[in-house]
């Protein structure tokens, strides 16, 4: 309760400071929080401005696509490399090397492959979200205590049962952490992709507002994205905490 009060207090103080700093400055470059609700209403009402809900909806679908692909590929390759020792030894250094390269350098080539539309954004969101997931699965597989596997085998568990009843629960917390980080990075990938070059989506609208010096509109969009990402991450944290409580 006191924590919540403190957080609210910090939020109010932060907004107050923002307002105080922005008020005496040039409104073309600096906007205080009090200007935001009006700007949001205007964006909703003026038909000449981009239709916000359409763009948000598109971005959400791109994020969902990118994340689902990242989860599917991350789990599949993570388990493949983790459970098949030889395959893992061959490909893991490659994975680590790729992870070390700043992913943004791949984006131009993704645009060339997939075009300006949603596909290149999904591909970039996938690329960013994939690594924390696959790496968490790999380290999760390695963390499974050998004794617990032996315990199950001594009681007659077959490989699939060992996987389901011993490995998955043992690695659940590690995997939950990776899945959460992957979600955050998929969001980053999609938005960055949209900002770097697109004709639709939240990132496109941000770029549009910025390009036309619509600082108020830009600030509204930034706050919307920040709030959405925070909400998403809070939900992820809740799920992760639940899994951790369950998996001990």
């Amino acid at each position: 309760m006191t924590v919540l009060a403190w957080r609210l207090g910090i939020l109010v103080v932060g907004l107050g400071l923002w307002e105080a700093v922005a008020a005496p400055l040039n409104p073309i470059f600096y906007v205080g929080p009090s200007a935001l609700p009006g700007a949001l209403l205007q964006m909703w009402r003026v038909p000449e401005l981009p239709n916000l809900s359409e763009h948000v909806w598109l971005t959400l679908r791109e994020i969902a696509g990118a994340y689902l692909l990242a989860v599917a590929a991350g789990l599949w390759l993570g388990f493949l490399f983790g459970l098949r020792r030889t395959v893992g030894r061959v490909y893991e250094p490659l994975l680590a090397a790729l992870y070390a390269v700043p992913s943004v350098i791949w984006y131009p080539s993704l645009m060339l492959f997939f075009g300006l539309g949603p596909a290149s954004k999904i591909a970039f969101g996938f690329l960013l979200g994939f690594f924390p997931i696959v790496l968490s699965v790999l380290s999760g597989v390695r963390q499974v205590p050998a004794t617990l596997v032996t315990v199950a085998q001594s009681m007659g568990a077959r490989p699939w049962t060992v996987f389901r009843k011993v490995m998955l629960p043992s690695m659940a917390s590690t995997m939950a952490g990776g899945l959460r980080a992957g979600l955050a990075l998929s969001v980053v990938g999609v938005l960055v992709g949209e900002i770097l070059g697109s004709r639709a989506g939240l990132g496109y609208v941000i770029n549009y507002a910025y390009g036309l010096m619509m600082t108020r509109e830009y600030a509204v969009l930034a706050v919307i994205v920040a709030a959405a990402v925070l909400a998403l991450d809070a939900a992820g944290a809740l799920v992760e905490a639940r899994v951790k409580r369950w998996a001990g």
């Binding site: 004794t147 617990l148 032996t150 315990v151 199950a152 085998q153 001594s154 009681m155 007659g156 568990a157 049962t161 009843k165 011993v166 629960p169 043992s170 659940a172 369950w246 998996a247 001990g248």
Partner: protein, 267 residues
């Protein structure tokens, strides 16, 4: 019981000159070398020896978790080809409880694998936990239990399988001396009710004397049978009795010799 004659004929465990080598980075290590031993029905046999003498390896071979590369293991007259949960249950050194399962769900694990219905599983598990002083702890997770309690849950998990053979690998090794001796007394009681052949691994002389019908002293690596000592004292045993003191001195003489060898020759 049908086939009673046949079961009476076959000893629960026969080890016939079994051996095991491990390949390590620094070359092959002979962990166990031609160990022969017969465990009779309802007999409590302890493997005693210095650390790293291959006691646990012998146990793993009886459990079918490790394949001997020499000799044969017969369980109930049949060659052992892998884990045999119908006949053999195992208690592990550090308990090996599943941290994400409650005490009750740990005990029901083996029954779950057998396909016993949930209600029946829980009934069996409660019936085991209650006389172990774990009533009211069924829903606790292993991290919420003391070391002694965890070990009792691990034993209950093995007993739930209701096998004629129970293997215990230093089950009280991580406990303090007092708890260890109390757990020993408690195990003597359990054993009298559940009629099983037990193979128990320990490096504690007193624990071996308190529990065993026979004590097998093993040599330092490679693990061989150095001596087999019958302990013909009635249960419950008074650990301060002069016979116990004599036996302890005799065992210590042998274990000391092997421990010195083990210390002198780095692994």
């Amino acid at each position: 019981m049908p086939g009673g004659v046949a079961t009476a004929a076959a000893e629960p465990i026969v080890l016939d000159a079994i051996g095991k080598r491990y390949e390590t980075a620094s070359g092959a290590v002979q962990a166990v070398d031609s160990v022969s031993l017969t465990v009779r029905a309802e007999e409590f046999v302890t493997l005693l020896g210095p650390s790293g003498c291959g006691k646990s390896t012998v146990l793993s071979m009886i459990a079918g978790l490790v394949r001997p590369d020499a000799g044969r293991v017969l369980v109930d007259g049949a060659p052992c080809t892998g884990p045999n949960p119908e006949k053999v249950a195992l208690v592990f050194q550090d308990g090996g409880l599943f941290p994400w399962r409650t005490a009750l769900d740990n005990v029901t694990f083996g029954l779950e694998l057998r396909g016993v219905p949930a209600a029946k599983r829980r009934e069996i598990a409660r019936g085991l936990l209650e006389p172990m002083g774990l009533r009211g702890f069924e829903r606790k997770y292993p991290r919420e239990l003391s070391g002694g309690m965890r070990q009792r849950v691990a034993i209950a998990r093995a007993l739930a399988l209701d096998t004629p053979i129970l293997l215990m690998d230093e089950p009280f090794g991580a406990l303090d001396e007092q708890t260890r001796l109390l757990m020993g007394e408690w195990l003597v009681g359990i054993r009298r009710r559940a009629r099983k052949a037990v193979v128990f691994v320990t490096h504690s002389l007193l624990e071996a004397i308190a529990l065993s019908d026979r004590i097998v002293v093993m040599t330092a690596r490679p693990g061989r049978v150095k001596d087999v000592v019958d302990v013909a004292l009635p249960f419950p045993r008074d650990l301060n009795a002069p016979e116990v003191t004599d036996l302890r001195a005799k065992l210590w003489e042998q274990v000391r010799e092997e421990s010195l060898k083990a210390m002198g020759s780095p692994p």
